[in-house]
Subunit: 471 residues, 2 copies
């Protein structure tokens, strides 16, 4: 299957490859049911990057030409696409890069940089039981719309949970959202206008960058240090610009795994007061921490902090249940937008989560996750040191380790990883401008997989060539 | 409990009433657990509208001062709100009016104008079974994010359903959304800029008006006739303005219940071609029709029509599963926004719906609904005629009848309805500018309730005083 690819052509290689494959299928040189070469094989044969093959296969799956079969690879679809004249979707840049991890069809690769825990770690029995109980309960939960602020019984549970970590939020200050990203979207649409300027952490959460870009909001990057945001740079930016707000993760920041120290937190709130800055504290890794921790919403006495949290990381990304806490006037505007833009959240999903909060099964399952994550993190950190990786800062909790092999560029690491069937999430995805970076986000939950171990060991540097070690 | 209300004060009556009630609770003149007077009683005592009392009670529930107990009324909360210094949310206009039907606490009133079917009509056993089956199935459905376009297996089912009504849409042209409102939101954000002008049907869907207003889009109203949109007015508006698109319900339009005729449909598509107008066909009542019907998406040969449909009306509003069909280039942009603004839909909910499509239980349950709706519609139309109501146009399907008592204003009807424990959705909610209207939307599924019958009979005019009858 050698296709002639024209490297001088204005048509991108990925489109050329897609077109060639599609033509072969149309002309039956690849028959229905036939298995396509593996990503690595085709990348080698055509002398293109593995990303290019992944992208081409994805487009053909989206176009109905190929089928991705769980764990076994890509196959020519049994029937031709219904509408053969449709162009395959022209995925934008954001979908090309960051969303690759959400696509179907790469189940054979270990997603070492992904943002979720393995399903085998999750509370499957408890969640399934809660779902079945709600399905047998009040028919309202099966059929009805949810009230604007969210299900009252869930907000009551959330109020108690927040009180336990020192955040005083009465139920009427809590709004449920369909994932924290939905909460961020409601906030951006309500608080910001195109042309406004905000502060973001860098490296940080790529979907927030995408969202702000989509809304034509200017971002000023605040570097993330081991103690939280870099306050000197933050103060300088506050002096020179008039940013509307600052988006931050206090605990186990994505992607660095670092947490805010009390000293930085106090000074940050002081600066916020001086410059009348609103802070949006995205605390989606909150429940990976047991007991009290340094959070801005806990210290805030003037409703300057908007707090977001979610059940996607600890319980289920499928249910889409999250929430935010804001002052009542803002909350009313957010609730109105929530209704206007989607008539609210899923009552069923909220009842399921409320059920697990009320019967204690959520608390117990998160406790198990914390223990397991802690064991895997400790093991991985030891291995990374032995294998010659540099770790940005040893995290005390959460899912992520931010690490690099000094001097190794990501493209060569990506190639090496694919040889071990490991898919990396490029470090550039966590830069607010997509700048290339040597750093990689590693999800500790996948670190002990034999594929990850093979890659991490091969990619590392011999001990003697490692420089200054971790910061 | 007589409060001194100042009718000359700039403070709205509803706020005065809320403040008085809150003060009584704070000073323990109303003790925890005490039952509040019924809406009718307090409205009579204070000489205010029932809407005013409803609003005040709602605010106090939202503020944690009152509790609404299913079917029994409003009670003083057992414990004071956690944060007594929070103001109750200052609900905006949209939330005040149209969203009242979504609030908790009016379970004692029959919502005769609501937009959903009674839970007792729904396929509860089949839905609960599908939920339990999915909960025991693939753990991915319990835990994982959904791919950008939506679950592939569901989109495959939707492709087949669409083919059955003559809409050729390959799975890669289908995007799932969390309710049709979410689809409309994605479209408005992608296709329109603040200041743009669009055409809307009038009367029409209030949430669309709210959404367009929220996005600062100008609306031009196209009157709805018994045959579909008023083409003369539409053509005039196309000539004078350059609207970007036209939003329409083809079947069983909300609120008039009217359907597009083939003649109007063809001419509408001609006009759209001449003026390069995009049409957004919101077909959420599609499944209330069996077999072929006149739809723009069926006739459209140039991808000018964007088609939306939903499972909220027929299966469940709680699950939030809907979809839209658009050309691939637009679909890719919508999918990107969908991910950026919420990381997709609920995989669990989509799997449940896909399951019911695949095993035929959805088809059978919708068939039952159609029969039952047809019987109730026929009965209600006969009664309305006998009771002296005027019907805009006798609908052939769907949930709604658009009716009035000539010469009776809505305020007096609302008052009369509350005496019979019936809550009306004011006709003004369906006007694009909120203009008052004599017309009422009646949901036929609730028409045979004894409260509805009492109201409809009392509100009607004696036969001899009825004028020209139905249009």
């Amino acid at each position: 299957m050698p296709f002639p690819l024209d490297r001088q052509s204005p048509t991108p290689l990925v489109q050329q490859l897609t077109d060639h494959l599609q033509a072969w299928i149309e002309h039956q040189r690849l028959r229905p049911g036939a298995r396509l070469p593996s990503i690595r094989t085709l990348a080698r044969e055509q002398s293109v990057s593995a990303s290019c093959v992944i992208e081409a296969y994805d487009r053909l799956v989206a176009g109905g030409w190929l089928e991705a079969r769980h764990g076994t690879g890509f196959f020519v679809a049994e029937c031709k696409p219904a509408s053969v004249h449709d162009d395959p979707p022209a995925w934008g840049e954001a979908v090309d890069g960051s969303w690759r991890q959400f696509r179907e069809g790469h189940d054979d690769l270990l997603k070492l940089g992904c943002g979720w825990l393995p399903n085998s770690w999750r509370a499957d029995a408890e969640l399934a039981q809660a779902i079945r109980q709600v399905s047998r309960g009040n028919p309202q939960d099966l059929f009805d719309y949810c009230p604007p602020l969210g299900l009252a019984s869930l907000r009551q549970q959330l109020h108690k949970r927040l009180a336990a970590v020192g955040i005083a939020a009465s139920p009427e200050r809590i709004l449920t959202t369909q994932g924290a990203s939905h909460g961020l979207d409601l906030l951006v649409r309500t608080l910001l206008q195109p042309g406004d300027t905000v502060l973001v952490e860098n490296p940080g959460y790529y979907n927030l960058y995408n969202l702000l870009r989509q809304h034509q909001v200017n971002m000023l990057p605040v570097p993330r240090t081991a103690d939280g945001p870099d306050l000197a740079e933050l103060e300088r930016l506050l002096g020179e610009h008039r940013p509307r707000c600052f988006f931050t993760n206090s605990l186990y920041q994505n992607p660095t795994g670092t947490s805010l120290t009390p000293k930085v937190a106090y000074r940050l709130l002081e600066l916020a007061r001086e410059h009348d800055l609103r802070i949006i504290e995205d605390d989606i890794y909150a429940d990976f921490q047991e007991g009290p921790a340094t959070r801005l919403a806990t210290l805030d006495s003037e409703q300057r902090v908007i707090y977001l949290a979610s059940f996607s990381k600890t319980l289920s990304s499928s249910l889409r249940v999250a929430y935010l806490v804001a002052d009542p006037a803002l909350l009313a505007r957010l609730a109105e937008l929530k209704m206007v833009s989607g008539i609210g959240t899923s009552r069923f999903a909220e009842q399921v989560v409320g059920h697990m909060l009320a019967n204690g099964s959520y608390r117990k399952s998160v406790q198990r996750l914390r223990v397991r994550l802690g064991q895997h993190r400790a093991k991985l950190l030891g291995q990374l040191e032995r294998y010659g990786w540099e770790v940005f800062c040893e995290p005390h909790g959460g899912m992520f380790v931010w690490a690099r092999v000094p001097g190794r560029d990501v493209a060569s690491l990506e190639q090496l990883a694919l040889h071990d069937s490991v898919l990396l999430t490029p470090g550039s995805a966590f830069d607010y401008q997509g700048a290339s970076s040597e750093w990689l986000r590693i999800n500790v939950a996948y670190g002990q997989d034999s594929r990850a171990q093979a890659f991490l060991q091969q990619a590392g540097l011999p001990r003697e060539s490692v420089g200054t070690g971790s910061l």
